[in-house]
């Protein structure tokens, strides 16, 4: 029998029992849909985590003074005063993999505006800081290098600070806030960034020129730390090496001596988080594929019942000239068609589910072509694998007793 006739016979047999066909398919539909949805949701969460990381600046490099140890007593992180203007200048010039550098000088002050006050950390940074940490301005402008040079009393504030101080809904731009006793003019408001991966509020922040903080607030000349950005995420290791080299030379550290600073890139964090989310995706897919196996067993079960129920039909087909092979292929064809149609419907449902989930969980909608192609093949294999035994049983029937079967 040729394949066209075979498929025709298989399809008409499936159509003869629409309800059962639909119910059998349901197992496969659920299996495939859950695999597709799980993989897609897993990948979407990977992407959104990665997105969050790069919103923190995945090419960001942190430069901190080394921990100091005085007479065996650890003085804590960033306790030395090894980073200063000299380093900033060296890192701004003559670098190849470093795109931008900004020092950070932190201070804590009570902010006062009218009757409202709010305590938060004030960061003295340079204009490049916004780009390095991927902050954006919602309104107003960022201070310039000129402001830095002149210790100008200007600042850029985050949304949380705006909400706390400007409770009447005034426009903060141009208003003057007192930082303790020092008045500063608000020239910009940052766009909201929300919580960081670690859970702290990234909008509860104030940026001012680092020179202003150094001279007017703290009276110091060193930096607490520095942020730099590599020219790209891939080049952050190179940039880190470059920074190490430059800082060692400006600090006059002899070869063999320890660095008096620490450099950290985001690379490690990114790869750790990627591997965790990757593992999660695999796990979800594995759980979902259990339901696919259950669906496959459902097909096998129904095919067995079908074969028994259609014993007479099998006997008749044999009597009118079907070869054993024709019978086997017919039932195999039925189970494969069953699982393939179920698979296609499952893929569609899976995509719908992952679309809805991405909308609800506020994640990107990711279509995994790999998962679709793979599940299509898995469907075909399921059909063959679970259809094989019932088909064989059908093909091995004796036509005489099959015809007599009641």
């Amino acid at each position: 029998m040729n394949i066209g006739n075979l498929i025709k016979i298989a399809i008409s047999s499936l159509f003869r029992n629409k309800m059962r066909t639909a119910l059998t398919m349901l197992g496969i539909v659920i299996g495939i849909a859950s695999v597709i949805a799980m993989v897609s949701i897993g990948q979407a969460s990977t992407q959104s985590v990665r997105g969050e990381l790069s919103s923190m600046g995945s090419n960001m490099i942190m430069i901190m003074p080394a921990r100091q140890n005085r007479g065996g007593v650890d003085m804590g992180m960033s306790s030395s005063k090894s980073l200063d203007n000299k380093d900033l200048e060296a890192l701004t010039k003559n670098t190849r993999y470093v795109a931008a550098v900004s020092p950070v000088v932190s201070s804590n002050k009570q902010l006062i505006y009218g009757n409202n006050n709010h305590s938060c950390s004030i960061n003295g940074v340079s204009a490049a800081f916004l780009e390095i940490r991927k902050y954006e301005l919602k309104e107003g402008v960022m201070f310039t290098d000129e402001d830095v040079k002149r210790y100008n009393k200007v600042c850029v504030i985050g949304q949380t600070v705006v909400d706390k101080l400007f409770t009447n809904g005034e426009n903060p731009i141009g208003k003057t806030i007192r930082f303790g006793s020092i008045p500063m003019t608000v020239i910009g408001v940052l766009a909201e960034k929300g919580q960081s991966g670690m859970g702290d509020d990234q909008d509860d922040i104030v940026f001012a020129p680092y020179t202003t903080i150094q001279k007017r607030f703290l009276g110091i000349t060193y930096f607490n730390m520095m942020y730099a950005s590599a020219t790209s995420e891939e080049e952050s290791e190179l940039a880190a090496t470059e920074i190490t080299y430059i800082l060692r030379s400006t600090h006059g550290i002899k070869s063999g001596d320890k660095d008096d600073f620490d450099i950290r890139t985001q690379e490690e964090l990114v790869s750790t988080i990627s591997s965790i989310t990757g593992l999660m995706t695999t796990l979800l897919a594995a759980i979902a594929s259990i339901s696919l196996v259950v669906g496959g067993i459902g097909i096998m079960n129904i095919m067995y019942v079908t074969v028994t129920e259609r014993t007479k039909e099998i006997g008749l087909r044999m009597a009118i000239g079907a070869h054993n092979r024709d019978i086997k292929l017919q039932f195999l064809c039925e189970s494969v068609i069953l699982s393939l149609i179920g698979g296609v419907i499952g893929i569609i449902f899976g995509l719908i589910i992952s679309y809805v989930a991405s909308k609800l969980l506020n994640m990107p909608f990711v279509v995994s072509e790999m998962a679709i192609v793979a599940s299509f093949f898995v469907c075909a294999l399921t059909g063959i694998f679970f259809g094989w035994y019932p088909a064989k049983k059908a093909a091995n029937m004796d036509p005489i007793s099959a015809l007599r079967y009641e």
Binding site: R317, A319, D326
Partner: protein
């Protein structure tokens, strides 16, 4: 002389039931020539079903030979037997054996699906012609459950005819039908016979056998009678039945 359509020689069939051998057929020899309408009679256990299975190439003899249309089935494989059934034999069963939820025409087409040399278009045409031959040209798209018993048996006969077999094998083809419908079906068989079809008709009803041209009677696996008979017309019997009803 008309040629032999089938010929059996010293046919034996032994079944093994437990540790005992059961001789269903004990050396049967006869032949059926082209254009004969043979009834094979016998009580249950006489071996007529076993004989029919062998004649239909569904079973093979334990000993002896069976030649159908010049082909000895002794050394044929299962697949070759299947092909032989497909090309040379038309089966009509007692319980019709139509596929449920499948139209009459699709049921009739079925044997041709297993014959690759028949293209789809010809398959349809031949099935239509066969249905016309049994007088069901207006019921082609009906499902079996929309047809009466007699009509279902006609569909089955059309299915047996569609591959243009050398012999029609009917197994108690009127067993599930009332007298009147039985006569109608026998009348159809007689029509087919008059058109030159060769028919072997297994039955245990003596009155049905009178519509055939030759009677072979079996008992305990042996032929006890093989003779031409005085053929009655089924059409006349039907007319007589109708008269009786009017009285």
């Amino acid at each position: 002389m008309a040629k032999d359509i089938l010929k059996v020689e010293k046919l034996e069939r032994i079944f093994r039931v437990g540790s005992e051998d059961v001789h269903a057929l004990r050396g049967i020899s006869f032949s059926i020539t082209e254009g004969e309408f043979v009834s094979i009679m016998g009580t249950s256990g006489s071996g007529k079903s076993t004989l029919l299975n062998i004649l239909g190439c569904l079973d093979t003899p334990s000993a002896g030979d069976y030649i159908i249309d010049g082909v000895s089935i002794k050394d044929l494989s299962k697949n070759e037997l299947s092909t032989l059934r497909n090309r040379k034999i038309g089966f009509v069963f007692q319980n019709y054996n139509l596929l449920a939820r499948t139209t009459a025409i699709e049921n009739v087409e079925l044997p041709l699906f297993y014959n690759n040399s028949v293209p789809a278009k010809e398959r349809r045409e031949r099935a239509e012609a066969a249905l016309k031959l049994v007088g069901l040209e207006n019921r082609m798209e009906h499902m079996p459950n929309q047809l009466s018993g007699g009509q279902q048996q006609r569909v089955a006969i059309a299915r047996a005819l569609v591959n243009d077999p050398v012999i029609l094998l009917a197994d108690e083809a009127t067993g599930n039908l009332d007298t009147r419908t039985s006569y109608e079906i026998m009348s159809l068989f007689q029509d087919l016979h008059s058109q030159g079809k060769t028919i072997a008709f297994v039955t245990h009803e003596p009155d049905i056998a009178t519509f055939t041209t030759r009677k072979i009677k079996l008992r305990d696996g042996q032929i006890i009678e093989d003779a031409p008979i005085d053929t009655q017309s089924a059409a006349e019997a039907l007319a007589a039945l109708n008269l009786q009803k009017e009285d």
